[in-house]
């Protein structure tokens, strides 16, 4: 299905141990450019550990992570810092800097990683806050806003740099259903507008089946199912079937998602954009 030149992220034989506990038992997967991969699985399955490896927050015990054809373990500090400008992450616990206002949180990556003027930074950051419906909280401190709002600010901060690879660790957990759908729409929009490759961890099966090109299911540090939503639904594995049926998702829904653009189309557009930027 995936043309190998279109692979954005390749995970090869990823093993992670903490002490004598093995958390990830040799994972292999390829994530295509502009693809949305949804990672599902119970708590403690190793989902966060997996995605933390993708942006080099953790070092593999064994195996490799290859992004854009480069093994990220081979990068120097400076090269890695440069590569990270193209990554964004929405953290499970929001990870807002509590010494800074909401606005400064969203402006932070722009101030650190770009040479934009303060005026442009203000405009970009406020636009993102507005898109997520939290612009009214711009001058508040993170301790003064609710968990749902903090989550949206965390998303705004990850999106503001318009990265090529965006990782969302449970972006909708703790949000009301309406806001959750807004977040799903945003994930879709980032993909459609900018050809972003997304890896989304979620417990929200509605969201999973709505936004996924492919779904990876992790149980106890092993990939037990990997494929399109239809393929995952058809997997002949009691654990997988149990997980899906207990989530109560309407299996028929995902079959009528209308005409989403394919990852290949979007990847082609992302490459054009990149070429345009390089000039």
């Amino acid at each position: 299905m995936l043309d190998s030149t279109d692979a954005h992220v390749v995970v090869e034989g990823l093993v992670k141990r903490y002490g004598d506990r093995t958390i990830l038992h040799g994972l292999d997967m390829t994530i295509g450019r502009a693809e949305t991969l949804v990672v599902i699985g119970g708590s403690g399955a190793g989902k966060s550990t997996l995605v933390r490896h993708l942006i080099a927050l953790e070092r593999p015990t064994a195996g490799r992570i290859v992004i854009d054809g480069t093994d990220i373990a081979s990068l120097s500090d400076v090269q890695l810092a440069k590569a990270r400008r193209r990554f964004g992450m929405v953290f499970q616990k929001y990870a807002l800097f509590d010494s800074m206002s909401v606005f400064d949180n969203v402006a932070f990556p722009l101030r650190e990683q770009t040479k934009l003027s303060e005026k442009d930074i203000r405009e970009k950051a406020m636009t993102k806050l507005k898109e997520l419906g939290v612009d009214h909280a711009a001058s508040l401190m993170p301790s003064q806003i609710s968990g749902g709002m903090a989550k949206r600010v965390g998303i705004a901060r990850a999106l503001v740099m318009e990265p090529e690879l965006l990782i969302y660790d449970e972006p909708t957990s703790g949000l009301d259903p309406v806001t959750s759908r807004t977040v799903d729409a945003l994930i879709e929009e980032m993909r459609e507008r900018f050809g972003v490759t997304s890896v989304v961890i979620t417990h929200d099966m509605v969201s999973a089946f709505d936004i996924a090109d492919r779904i990876a299911m992790l149980i106890k540090g092993r990939v037990v199912a990997l494929g399109s939503p239809a393929e995952v639904l058809a997997v002949d594995n009691a654990d997988v079937q149990g997980f899906i049926s207990s989530s109560g998702v309407d299996v028929k829904r995902f079959e009528h998602r209308g005409n989403r653009k394919t990852a290949a189309e979007l990847a082609a557009r992302a490459r054009e954009r990149k070429a345009g930027r390089a000039e």
Binding site: G19, D20, R52, I55, L57, D77, A81, K82, R84, R85, F87, G88, M89, F91, Q92, K93, Y94, A95, L96, F97, D98, F108, P109, E112, Q113, M161
Partner: protein, 266 residues
């Protein structure tokens, strides 16, 4: 790993040397963090405003305590030395002896302990919270080196502010001992001041300031180490805070002896 193996087959040697091994590992971790702090501190960008914020934090957190402890330390010393020296009619020496003790030992050591208790514990708790709420990971993801952003400013603040605070401790301590000696125990104010002038040489102040500087580095390094590598949620942050203070205090006394024996020729 080998820790676990050792606990499965507890040999006598393993049991005896376990704490020593732990201590060695601890020193290794500290040296590693210090190395990275120097490395990243030397690289731009230089985050002056963060250093200023931390200097304010260390100063504001500790100045009242340092002044108070300095005052009482000076007062107690005056009473004790007058009591002791009167036995052989040497109470004239009190001013000088108090000044020597305060500048060489009391000011740097007690200031460092106050800073460890107030600012150090605060740093460990703050960094520990940032670790457990993934803020440190977020910094890294945004291509900002967390050691440069968080650890370097705190250590610099310690290196600058502990000597400043120790000087405050010293001056207030002298004031306290003067007040007790002159007003409370009717020593001659002229002789008291004169003995300070004749007995206290620049080397005494230098030794005090060198100690304060090294303690400032040590206390903030240990606080950052425990906060930065905290794990295990709120409980872990609590433990990190306690450990930061305990190990800072132990390190201060240990290093005090080392510096004293290096700088003092008897």
């Amino acid at each position: 790993m080998s820790d676990d193996e050792a606990s499965k087959r507890p040999g006598v040697l393993a049991t005896v040397f376990a704490p020593a091994k732990g201590l060695l590992e601890e020193v290794g971790t500290l040296a590693d963090l210090a190395f990275h702090a120097v490395l990243w501190g030397a690289r731009p960008p230089y985050r002056v405003s963060l250093v200023v914020t931390q200097m304010e934090f260390v100063g504001v957190q500790s100045i009242f305590l340092v002044g108070l402890v300095g005052l009482f330390t000076g007062m107690v010393f005056a009473v004790q030395t007058v009591y002791g020296f009167r036995r052989f009619g040497a109470e004239n020496m009190v001013g000088g002896v108090v000044a020597l003790t305060l500048s060489r030992e009391m000011a740097p050591v007690l200031t460092a302990i106050m800073v460890a208790a107030r600012a150090g514990s605060g740093m460990a708790a703050e960094l520990g919270n940032m670790r457990s709420s993934e803020q440190i990971d977020a910094l890294e993801t945004m291509a900002v080196n967390p050691v440069q952003y968080l650890v370097v400013p705190r250590i610099l603040a310690g290196i600058v502010m502990v000597p400043v605070l120790a000087l405050v401790f010293f001056l207030i301590g002298i004031g306290g001992s003067w007040a007790i000696g002159v007003w409370g125990m009717s020593l001659d104010p002229g002789i008291f001041a004169d003995r300070i002038k004749t007995m206290l040489v620049p080397a005494d102040l230098t030794q005090g300031l060198i100690k304060a500087l090294v303690f400032g580095f040590t206390v903030t390094l240990i606080a950052c180490r425990h906060g930065y590598y905290a794990s295990g949620g709120a409980v872990g942050v609590g433990q990190a805070t306690t450990r930061a203070v305990v190990w800072s205090v132990v390190a201060v006394f240990l290093i005090d002896y080392v510096i004293t024996s290096m700088l003092t020729t008897v």
